[in-house]
Amino acid sequence: MKQHKTIPPALAQRFLLRFLRVDLAEEVLGDLDEKFYINVKTKSLFKAKINYWYQVFHYLRPFAIRKSESMYSTSCAMYKSYFKIGWRNLLKNKTYSLINIGGLSIGLACCIAIGLYIWDEFSYDRFHTRYRDIYRVVDQQVMGGDIFNIAATPGPLGSALTSDFPEVQQFCRVSRMRSAGILQHGESAVEPQELLVVDNTFFRVFDFKLIQGNGEKALREPNDVVITQSMAAKFFGPDWQSAGIIGKQIQFSDDRVLTLVAIAEDPPTNSHIQFDVLLSCRYDELNSPYYNWNSNNYHTYVLLDPNADAQALNSKLYKHLSKYISNTTDITLSLQALSDIYLYSDFDFQTDWSKTSDIVYVQIFLAVGLIVLLIAISNFVNLSTARATKRAKEVGVRKVIGALHKQLVSQFLSESLTLTSLSVCLALFLLQLLLPLLNSIASKSLHIPFQEPYFLFAIIGFTVTVSLMAGIYPAFHLSNFQPAKVLKGLFASRSGQLFRQTLVVGQFTFSVILIIGTIVIYKQLTFLQNKNLGFDKSRLLYVALKNDLPSKALLMKTDLQNQASIAGVSLASNNLIDVVRSTGAVEWEGKVSDDKILLTHMNVDYDFLSTTGMTLLTGRNISPSISSDTVSAYLVNETAAKRMGWNPTEALGKKLAMWGYKGEVIGVVKDFHFRPMTATIEPFLFRYWPRESCSGLFVRAKANQVQQVISAVEKIYKKYDAKSTPYYQFVDEGLQNQYRREQNTARIVSCFSVIAIVVSCLGLFGLATYTSEQRVKEIGIRKVLGASVSSIVRLLSQDFAKLVIIAILIASPIAWWSMNYWLQDFAYKINLEWWMFVLSGVAAIGIALLTVSLQTVKAAVINPAKNLGSE
């Protein structure tokens, strides 16, 4: 298909010459040529070709079209006859037709659904008019020998890049406030979900639209605020639009008064930037302690000149940070294209807070969708060739009367086109019915874009391709019959058998791969959920303390401890799910001077170990009665001790300093998982610093008292902060959510493997029907000679069983390889075991034989007198 020569598309030219008036051909071809070569020069070859097609289609005008010739009428009658015969055949063999159309439409529906899904995934962030020129500056840091990708960059970077590189036209910084406060105006108070701090260029770099207010001026002042329309509706009621709310003062947290300067449209769902409230970055510049070259707190987006060479800028950026920060040889910058952010982001330390997906899952879905389609097409081919015997006489007669090989091919191709079109319509109907279900599984909001012209073109193209794939082999197979032979009845019923068998093997190979995949994914997910984490995740509640609650944390703790339903309460600076607060500023006894480690840490109190159920291997817990523990006591995990060169016993009493605060190790905690299972356990440290307020509380409920605990927590939370809604989470649920994407994939893959099996079995059923029909006389004679029903069923089934076994043998190594590839992402994973393969194999054979037996048993129990009597 690919053609790299710079000549106009030949197909378009042929098409043009087919309909164009002969006397116009020369001038029109010349004009189009000229246009084409100019486009090649000024745009691209691809665009020039597209434009050529466009120009050709625009010649479809009455003045330019050749007057039709009279031969039309005969070929029309011929097509009518094809259609009539095709239709009669369809009605005559209802089972075949149902299997054919049913299987194909299921396959097509899957394929279209996945197509929509992938289209949606790739549509992210492309609604910005200049999305090609927008990049995010990201950095890569080497710490402790490991490489970390970080999506956030220092605050002053944006303006520095704009002044250093002329090709950077504008920049926009976006930062997310994690512990957002409450917005208040008069009586109404709202808690934003996605609160972003952005530059005032936000509405110029990106295409987010404003409903009210001026995008040029908004967010220039430190206390400007922009809210979305749905936020405005929550805040000012449904008729906010006429209420004249611009310029209103809004209280934020306790210390800031904001001015509402604009109302924005809700961001489109296919944007990786999601927000409901926007604050001004100007405030950060003036007040934030994290606005400096050493803190990475902002996503820096740059808008480049359309003619700029992003590649060149990328290499210029590489070491650019060293201009501003000393000793940064191990931090390098690079550009990430806006359209890559959604699918190709993999950043550490939760520095990427935007909405992202993963290209791997897109690839998995694409593969699965194609597999189901291939299986459905194989069915079609199989059944059509199997049915060939029935139509051999028709082919013979047509040939004798004078039909050309070409005409027969086009007859069968048009039949397959009709069938495919029918299936596509059915598939679209099916899809329309099932889309809500699919949307809930994949957590998307897909719809079939019937009104979009590109969708209709795609569907037409798809129909033609599928009908060619399905019809081309049967068409040539059928039209090759020799009339003399078939009309005499000398027809080899086994013709094309090898081909059919190959297809069945192919179908079952794919099905078995999908079954194995499903088993492995589910097994891995249960493994993740049941793995011992090193602490007791059940009935453990984490309460996040917002606003000024951290200062009242101790009072809350005492109140909670007095509840009968609560077994333990502990202060903590983080939840235990994906802890990423880490530092490299650690010194320890016996450290080699240039050794660097990354130490994740948490501030807790003396009740932490007992509340979470962690095990102390050696040493002692922090004690409230030893006053020096609040300054100089550290608990480390096994990995940290090992990394620092000590075994758990040696570690006790060793000197250790974090951020320059000297202390000693008083105990070693058994390793526990504080990150998703995709990461290995790393060094961890607990400290007890009451001087630093804690932003969370762990609450352990007594058995069967979870409900009481929830109401107690809500009551006590309200007592100290009446305004905001309490935020609490069960740790086990939070851990589950980390694997939501894997769970979605598992669900979708298992759905599709069921569909694949069903479609394969439909085909098998059709083939079984066909073979038992073929061998009806043989079966009759065998029965007369004394064969038992079971021996006949065995005879008929063993051919199919053989094929399925071959399929299992082919599928196993492929599945083993691909599932190993998927498992590589996990630091903790199951081993692929033989029983998974055996189970899938047995299931496949079982299902296949069951399907086949529906037919074979029927054939075997028939009274032989009936079958043999006819001759």
Partner: protein, 115 residues
């Protein structure tokens, strides 16, 4: 009866044929239309209008010489007929007459001023 009215698009095309002179063939006219008006148009649409104008007798055409740049194919060069020129002039005069009757503009044909 022959249609003799001029549509807006037809009038522009007719004028462009006049402007381009020797080089007036479908592709060039379409290009010129795009660059002068900033609106895009396909060669087919231009060609069909040229054909219509020729049928109305405002244009005549003949095949030009072969050139190497378009694979040795000849161009159809259009030229305005006397009738075409007259229709253009009538159209302009008619509009001028209308402009003169519009009180706000009478005497000073100046677009920017009054808006």
């Amino acid at each position: 009866m022959k249609e003799t009215r001029l549509g807006e698009f037809e009038e522009v095309i007719l004028l462009l044929v006049g402007i381009l002179g020797e080089g007036a063939y479908a592709f060039k006219i379409a290009e010129e239309f795009e660059s002068q008006t900033g609106r895009s148009v396909s060669i087919g649409a231009t060609h069909s209008t040229l054909d219509r104008l020729e049928n109305k007798g405002f244009l005549k055409s003949e095949m030009g010489k072969a050139t190497a740049e378009r694979g040795g194919r000849r161009k159809r060069i259009f030229t305005i007929t006397a009738l075409g020129k007259r229709v253009l002039k009538e159209s302009k005069d008619f509009k001028m007459a209308l402009w003169e009757q519009y009180p706000a503009f009478a005497g000073k044909l100046n677009y920017g001023g009054v808006m």
